[in-house]
């Protein structure tokens, strides 16, 4: 079994920032695992601008923001990057099993930083009734299809939820020539950032319906329409307010869930509601030596704050490793 001072799972903004900070705090034996074929994580599909205003005092796109850290990591030989490497199992003693094409490895680090990001809540989690046709996408999947794969997921789009990814995708669909028929938000106000509401929705005259939920998805093979209904203060349907919107695509943008199934395996105490580790201190967990940073610790609004907090995680891990020597 391989031994390491520090293993970091996840090569997105959180993992990269923690790796660099740990190195600068004196850790010289770091393994960074990334499941994709390149570093950068979800930033690679975020080709819009607005990143780095806080941290770099510049306006960057997602890939540009990621690139600054990728370059630094490439120039730091003590940080070994293993791409296409998927962490599959974590035991209580921090033994981590990971797979990559051609091999299955086990590694036991002194400290472990999990920077695994989050996943999107799905249509199934909010129990939208109706059929199960093609054309229902999580907003992030639609973003990946358009920006990474060069495909157009739909032409007549309804967006459920007004989270930031949903708002950004509304604009993205319009720029690709599709029609965004409506954004439906069950809350009385948007959950997204003000700048996204202005730049992605208002500037393109996309109708947002607040206090409104989708009550049914229609269509056999492909989405054909959605039914929607207004809700009152108690989230109860208001009779007589039902209406239909014809569309071929439904984007679901109803929130994010930290991905912490691996540390749950290792016995870290997880909040059942938020799926975040329960901890008094940022980045810490109930198991000494296991740290969590970025969106897997809590869902952040800005990548700039992910970077700053993850640097702290790198320092915390470095302190922990020093204490073990």
């Amino acid at each position: 079994m391989e031994r390491r001072d520090l293993v970091i799972v996840g090569g997105g903004p959180a993992g990269m920032a923690s790796a660099i900070a740990a190195y600068e705090s004196g850790v010289k034996d770091i393994l960074l695992l990334e499941r994709d074929q390149y570093l950068g994580g979800i930033l690679n599909q975020c080709i819009h601008t607005g990143f780095g205003i806080e941290y770099f005092k510049e306006v960057l796109t997602g890939p540009e923001y990621a690139d600054r850290f990728i370059k630094k990591i490439r120039n730091t030989p003590s940080i070994e990057v293993s791409l296409r490497s998927f962490a599959a199992k974590l035991e209580k003693d921090k033994t981590l099993t990971y797979l990559k094409p051609g091999c299955l490895n086990e590694v036991k680090p002194t400290a472990l930083i999990m920077a695994t990001g989050c996943r999107e809540r799905t249509r199934e989690m909010i129990h939208i009734p109706g059929t199960r046709p093609s054309g229902v996408f999580s907003a992030g999947l639609a973003q990946k299809l358009i920006n990474m794969e060069g495909l157009l997921p739909g032409r007549e789009v309804v967006i459920i939820g007004s989270g930031d990814i949903g708002l950004i995708m509304a604009r993205r669909f319009i720029l690709e020539g599709a029609n965004v028929k409506a954004i439906l938000e069950i809350q009385p106000a948007t959950r997204g950032l003000k700048r996204n509401v202005v730049q992605c929705v208002e500037d393109f005259d996309i109708p947002i319906h607040f206090k409104c939920r989708v009550s049914k998805i229609w269509g056999q093979a492909r989405v054909e329409k959605v039914s929607a209904v207004k809700v009152d203060e108690d989230m109860k349907d208001i009779p007589g307010t039902e209406f239909n919107i014809t569309c071929d695509t439904v984007l679901v943008s109803v929130g994010l869930i930290p991905e912490n199934e691996l540390i749950e395996m290792a016995g870290v105490v997880i909040d059942k509601k938020t799926n975040s580790p329960i901890s008094k201190e940022v980045n810490a967990t109930s198991v000494p030596g296991i740290f969590v940073c970025g969106n897997s610790f809590k869902v952040y609004d800005y990548v700039d704050s992910v970077t700053s907090d993850s640097e702290l995680a790198g320092k915390m891990a470095a302190e922990y490793i020093k204490g073990k020597r």
């Binding site: 199934e124 199960r132 060069g150 009550s215």
Partner: protein, 476 residues
């Protein structure tokens, strides 16, 4: 010279594939015609996956006998074809003295049918052996031979083995007319005309329409919808047994079961429908299912639901309709195969082989019949050492596509080689996209592998066949 099949089976669901596999033991020219893109995509895919012991129907019915025999035969089949089958046992739960009397009657009927191992258990037994069962449950009929199996994987595995034994499988082949020409039927689909001496009609919800094409039987299939809800695998140990209320006249009621993959499942509803295509789930259905399930297991939490679906049962009266239509020589109807159709399938297959033999089909055993199917490999299920070796031997086992269910690129490619042509097909075979992220992370990768393996453009990849393309176009 036109080539003539001995038997054409219309419908690639559980009965059609089971019959095909049974007949493939003999020297016969066989084909399955399936209107959907893959086998199992009709009624079978939304089956509950229960191998019933035979405690639920009146003992005089044909389906009761076929169920008890099928329960035994399915075990043999599962071994031969390497299908995961788990015997978990079931409890039919009673809440009062009246229920107790009904349980006794059920037991008497089932004993008479030869269902093994039945016993009535009391409250103390239930507390000890089924701790999450409602404290109001006083008695239960315990049937140890109930089991669980994946309904669609059973169909795929039967089809794969049938195909290995020479059965031709035509998907996206909808039968439009059947013409009897002397001793041979002409079966017309949009792309092709088939000729066959015998026809076995296993067309599920559409068996009445197919029979009418040949003038063979005037029964009617009335669809009955069932909605089911799956809970997170984290709740795998919610119950030890499959839990049933006492059955009503038309259905078994709302059950608490689990899939062979370990997800607890609650449902199904039971609602007579007009439209055979209506597979919608409803808010009302969810309410009914939760109410029924909580009566058995009060701790069930709505927030644990991770997926839901609806299916239609092909109902034709109270019993199965399995018979040769004497007015149309060579035409066998296998219709109205609702529950316990999955359990009974292998027994139905034997019965149909007998009917065909009695009506003049010569059943001569093949010299070499491939009885066994090799189990597909899934990383980690085989243990760490074997996984390590397999990943070394074939690097793409280490290339994880679906992170929630740990499915490798190799397994996805193998599924496509075994017949998956759609995203749903890959999901049914491998579980990729079936986990908690519902494909948010792996959809693009699977689309690309499907396109590559089947030599198509990625834009043409569908969820479950024509019209369900995932994307509309390339980006401009």
């Amino acid at each position: 010279m036109k080539s003539v099949y001995d038997v054409i089976i219309i419908g690639g669901g559980i009965t059609g594939t089971a019959i095909a596999r049974e007949l493939s033991r003999y020297r016969l020219r066989l084909a399955i015609l399936e209107k959907e893109s893959e086998v199992s995509f009709g009624v079978s895919k939304s089956n509950s996956g229960i191998i019933h012991p035979g405690t639920q129907h009146h003992p005089a019915l044909l389906k009761s006998k076929l169920c008890v025999l099928g329960n035994k035969l399915t075990r043999v089949l599962a071994r031969e074809l390497s299908i995961d089958f788990k015997e978990v046992g079931e409890l039919i739960v009673g809440f009062n003295e009246e229920d107790y009397k009904r349980l006794l009657r059920l037991k008497e009927d089932a004993d008479a049918l030869g269902v093994p191992g039945l016993k009535i258990v009391d409250r103390r037994w239930l507390r000890k052996n089924e701790p999450n069962l409602s404290v109001e449950a006083l008695y239960a009929l315990y049937a140890p031979t109930a089991g669980i199996i994946s309904p669609y994987r059973m169909v795929y595995d039967l089809a794969e083995n049938a195909s290995a034994n020479g059965v031709e499988i035509y998907t996206e082949t909808k039968v439009e007319s059947i013409i009897a020409q002397g001793k041979v039927f002409e079966v017309v689909s949009p792309d092709r005309v088939f000729h066959s001496r015998f026809i076995v009609n296993c067309a599920g919800l559409y068996a009445d329409e197919v029979a009418r094409m040949a003038g063979a039987g005037n029964f009617k299939i009335t669809p009955r919808k069932g909605e089911e809800f799956l809970l997170d695998k984290k709740k795998e140990n919610l119950t030890r047994h499959l839990l049933f209320p006492l059955p009503s006249k038309i259905s078994k009621g709302i059950l608490v079961t689990r899939t062979s993959d370990g997800n607890p499942m609650i449902g199904p509803t039971s609602e007579d429908m007009e439209d055979k295509n209506d597979l919608t789930t409803t808010a009302e259905g969810l309410r009914k299912v939760l109410e029924g399930a909580k009566k058995l297991v009060p701790s069930i939490d709505e927030n644990d639901i991770i997926a839901y679906f609806a299916g239609q049962r092909p109902v034709s009266g109270d019993d199965f309709t399995i018979r040769h239509e004497d007015g149309v020589r060579g035409f066998v109807n296998v219709a109205g195969i609702q529950s316990p159709g999955l359990t009974a399938a292998s027994a139905i297959a034997l019965m149909v082989a007998g009917i065909l033999k009695n009506t003049g089909l010569r059943l001569k055993k093949k010299y070499f019949f491939r009885r066994h199917r090799k189990k597909e490999f899934h990383i980690f299920s085989a243990g760490l050492k074997k996984t390590k070796r397999s990943v070394k031997k074939d690097p793409s086992y280490g290339d994880i596509v679906c992170r929630c269910e740990l499915v490798s690129a190799k397994e996805v490619r193998e599924a496509i080689k075994r017949g998956a042509r759609t995203m749903d097909g890959v999901k049914f075979m491998t579980r990729a996209q079936a986990g908690r992220c519902h494909g948010s992370f792996c959809t693009t990768r699977i689309m690309k592998i499907l396109a590559e393996e089947t030599n198509r453009d990625v834009v043409s990849v569908t969820k479950r066949g024509k019209g369900s393309e995932l994307v509309k176009d390339k980006r401009r």
